[in-house]
């Protein structure tokens, strides 16, 4: 079976699934969050996976998206659809400016710089109370169901909108991967010095990827704000809540691959939910501990990600069947 058949099958399944679920229930909420975080992992994957620029600051762009659209909605009654584009533009600009001081940094230093950047924005969001609502956070104004205002009582519309975003980001990823930009990014990933020598403008390549990734991440920030109706600086600029989670989802699934973040999100998000649902009424904190242990176990078993684990497993099965 060709990869595109897998894609088509997954997409059809994703489109059909909600018709079996309670539109305001828990399963569809978990699925929607899973799609959202899969999309976030995929957006991260554009810089983190293709170019191996491990960013721990993607919350910066996510938060810019959430705050921009919500502030525009509250103060100017501007549709979140427009706010979303404004947020994406702002995030792209931020990524562009951020790339100047960080471009020469590699590995851990780059990761730390991006982390610091998102922390700065979190502090700004916490302190600039008149605009951002400060630490108390922002509530998306309550409205009747409206596509223009991107607000629904039922979870199903959010599910499809976020599914659309995921598909969009996957397509962008695929196009970049197959394009000249993708090859240049891989050259940067393998050996930046060699890439430079053979004539790849590494700076430009990295900036392009960073800007695209940031803009897509901001789109997701807006969708998140509309979906959860409320957020505070910690929820959208949080290191653990967003930055690390985006990276973990992509890395655990298989960084640099299209299916990686999807697999990562479909394992991590439901796993966290199940751990919580099954264990939180027992000892306090047990669910988080179990979730953490499971992550450690997965990484110990296969550091290259679940995708490798899955394809190895299938290969072994087929061999077994033949023999």
């Amino acid at each position: 079976m060709k990869p595109w058949i897998w894609g088509a099958a997954a997409l059809i399944a994703a489109v059909v699934v909600p018709s079996f679920l309670d539109p305001a229930g828990y399963p569809i909420r978990v699925l929607t969050l899973t799609l959202l975080f899969a999309a976030l992992g995929q957006a991260w994957n554009i810089v983190g996976g293709l170019a191996n620029q491990i960013s721990l600051g993607h919350a910066a762009f996510f938060g810019i998206g959430a705050y921009t659209s919500t502030i525009l909605l509250i103060h100017f009654n501007l549709s979140p659809w427009i706010g979303m584009l404004a947020g994406a533009a702002l995030a792209a600009l931020a990524a562009y400016l951020l790339s100047f001081p960080t471009m020469k940094l590699r590995g851990h230093y780059f990761a730390l710089a991006t982390l610091a950047f998102s922390e700065v924005l979190r502090v700004v969001a916490s302190s600039w109370t008149s605009v951002t609502g400060g630490p108390a956070g922002l509530s998306v104004p309550y409205a009747a169901d409206s596509l223009a205002l991107l607000q629904f009582k039922s979870t199903t519309p959010y599910y499809y909108i976020i599914l659309g975003a995921l598909v969009l980001i996957c397509v962008v990823f695929l196009v970049i991967q197959k394009s000249a930009l993708g090859y240049r990014l891989r050259a940067v990933k393998e050996n930046p010095d060699a890439a430079e020598v053979i004539g790849v403008d590494t700076t430009r390549v990295k900036i392009t990827a960073a800007v695209i990734s940031a803009a897509l991440t901001a789109l997701l920030g807006t969708l998140y704000a509309q979906f959860t109706y409320f957020f505070d600086p910690e929820a959208v600029f949080g290191i653990v809540a967003i930055s690390v989670r985006a990276a973990i989802i992509a890395i655990l699934g298989g960084a640099g691959t299209l299916a990686g973040p999807l697999i990562g999100a479909f394992v991590i998000v439901p796993l966290e939910e199940f751990a919580n649902a099954a264990l939180s009424s027992r000892a306090a904190g047990l669910s988080q501990l179990v979730f953490g242990l499971m992550l450690i176990a997965i990484i110990l078993v296969e550091p290259r990600g679940l995708l490798v684990l899955v394809s190895n497993g299938i290969a072994r099965l087929r061999k077994g069947r033949k023999g």
């Binding site: 897998w6 630490p135 299209l258």
Partner: protein, 426 residues
């Protein structure tokens, strides 16, 4: 849930993989395996469903932080709720419902608003809860209330934030005074206590953690200070989990204030007071509930805790005949979040008795229309609970409490005071 179920859910996730996207080409799963995986995906969310055999019981959701920064307060809250649930069940359950037992469905909100909303959604969709109690921290409650409001499930909370009942929601019930009222009372109470101690309060210092809780407390203090003509000589936010408080203390020394108001949960407040006292600053300290009114405060500070004051939305000395049961069972005094959550559940039980059916709509109507008296309501200031149309308990009055040895004594206002206030640092 059993262990084997845990395995099942994990394998369901794994079986889910072909759904998740494109595989590297070169393998060929059978159609059957794809179908099986698809079926597993569809079934996946249901595997976690917890089945409650006894159809007659009333499911009450409890969403509190059992992990993360606020875990301790979440556990306290859960203890208070469990105490009352056991009392009600031991006394024969909800009589109007044929002796139906209260069945608590407890979920960890963790410390992120999104999970608070998600677990709330889970309780509503899967456990048919008639109401939800929680979620202690204001940011968690705000996120949770967005879910409960849209599903029409009453949410009873003891979170402080003004926003909770300030959004026109119909399904949220705030059992205590809101943050701005608490902030106002904190300063008024301090001024009155100072007056009685022979000092007129003219300048104060405020330091607060940069969270919803800290900043709304500070805002209340600021506004009241203006209204009372008190100068705020220092007004500083600091990050939650601050590692070095020395700069704050240096500023405090320079500010020459008569009293200091550090609005923080626990650890930051401990650090601030310890550093102050070690440097010989004997200013009266007035805390904003949170970590100031739990046994750990005294345990961590020892003698430095003596005479530290705090605002509190309630205190266990208001009715020891009720709160002693908590101390007996858990070994520490009934902290206010345990007390107020206990009142929430007792009021809910009373509403169920009156409504005569375990239906969220009926419960909401009853909560809005009834004045609740007796039982745990006696432990509240006002000795009763009455919610206005926004869902705020109009009868709740803030208290000032002061540390005396291992106990917290209510010292203000006079009608609720159980001891005399002392205006002095340690």
């Amino acid at each position: 849930m059993s262990e084997s179920k845990g395995h099942k859910t994990l394998s369901a996730c794994r079986a889910n993989r072909p759904e998740s996207g494109f595989m590297p080409s070169g393998f060929m799963p059978s159609r059957r395996s794809v179908l099986a995986a698809g079926a597993a995906t569809l079934a996946m969310p249901y595997l976690s469903r917890v089945s409650y055999a006894a159809g007659k019981d009333v499911n009450v959701g409890v969403v509190v932080p059992l992990s993360g920064a606020n875990a301790q307060f979440g556990v306290n809250s859960r203890n208070g709720i469990e105490l009352v649930a056991d009392q009600i069940n031991a006394a024969g359950g909800i009589k109007a419902l044929g002796g139906a037992k209260i069945n608590l469905v407890i979920a960890d909100s963790t410390s992120t608003p999104t999970s608070a909303a998600t677990v709330g959604q889970r309780l509503i969709a899967q456990n048919d809860v008639v109401a939800i109690l929680g979620a202690y921290a204001s940011s968690l409650t705000l996120a949770l209330s967005e879910a409960t409001e849209r599903r029409g499930i009453p949410l009873m909370t003891m979170s402080f934030s003004d926003q909770i009942t300030g959004r026109g929601f119909k399904n949220v019930f705030q059992i205590i005074s809101k943050a701005s009222t608490l902030g106002e009372a904190q300063l008024k109470g301090t001024a009155e206590i100072a007056q009685k101690g022979g000092e007129t309060l003219k300048t104060i210092a405020i330091m607060y953690e940069d969270t919803a809780y800290g900043s709304s407390q500070a805002a209340g203090l600021r506004t009241t200070a203006k209204a009372l003509g008190i100068t705020v000589a220092m007004d500083e936010a600091y990050p939650l989990g601050i590692t070095d408080v020395t700069p704050l203390i240096n500023k405090l020394r320079a500010a020459n204030a008569q009293a200091v108001f550090p609005a923080s949960y626990l650890n930051d407040g401990l650090q601030i007071i310890r550093t102050m006292r070690q440097q010989g600053i004997k200013l009266p300290v007035i805390g904003g509930a949170g970590g100031y009114v739990i046994p750990d405060f005294k345990k961590a500070l020892g003698d430095y805790a003596e005479n530290v004051m705090s605002i509190a939305p309630g205190n266990y000395d208001q009715d020891p005949s009720l709160t002693d049961a908590f101390k007996k069972r858990y070994g520490y005094f009934m902290v206010h979040e345990a007390l107020e959550h206990a009142v929430c559940l007792d009021v809910l039980a009373k509403a169920l008795e009156k409504a005569g059916k375990a239906d969220p709509n009926a419960v909401r109507e009853t909560l809005h229309s009834t004045r609740f008296e007796g039982g745990w309501c006696n432990a509240m200031t006002g000795r009763a609970v009455k919610f206005d149309e926004t869902g705020l308990n109009t009868l709740a009055k803030p208290l000032m409490v002061q540390w005396r040895g291992d106990n917290l004594v209510t010292v203000w206002p006079d009608e609720y005071a159980k001891g005399k206030a002392i205006w002095a640092g340690a």
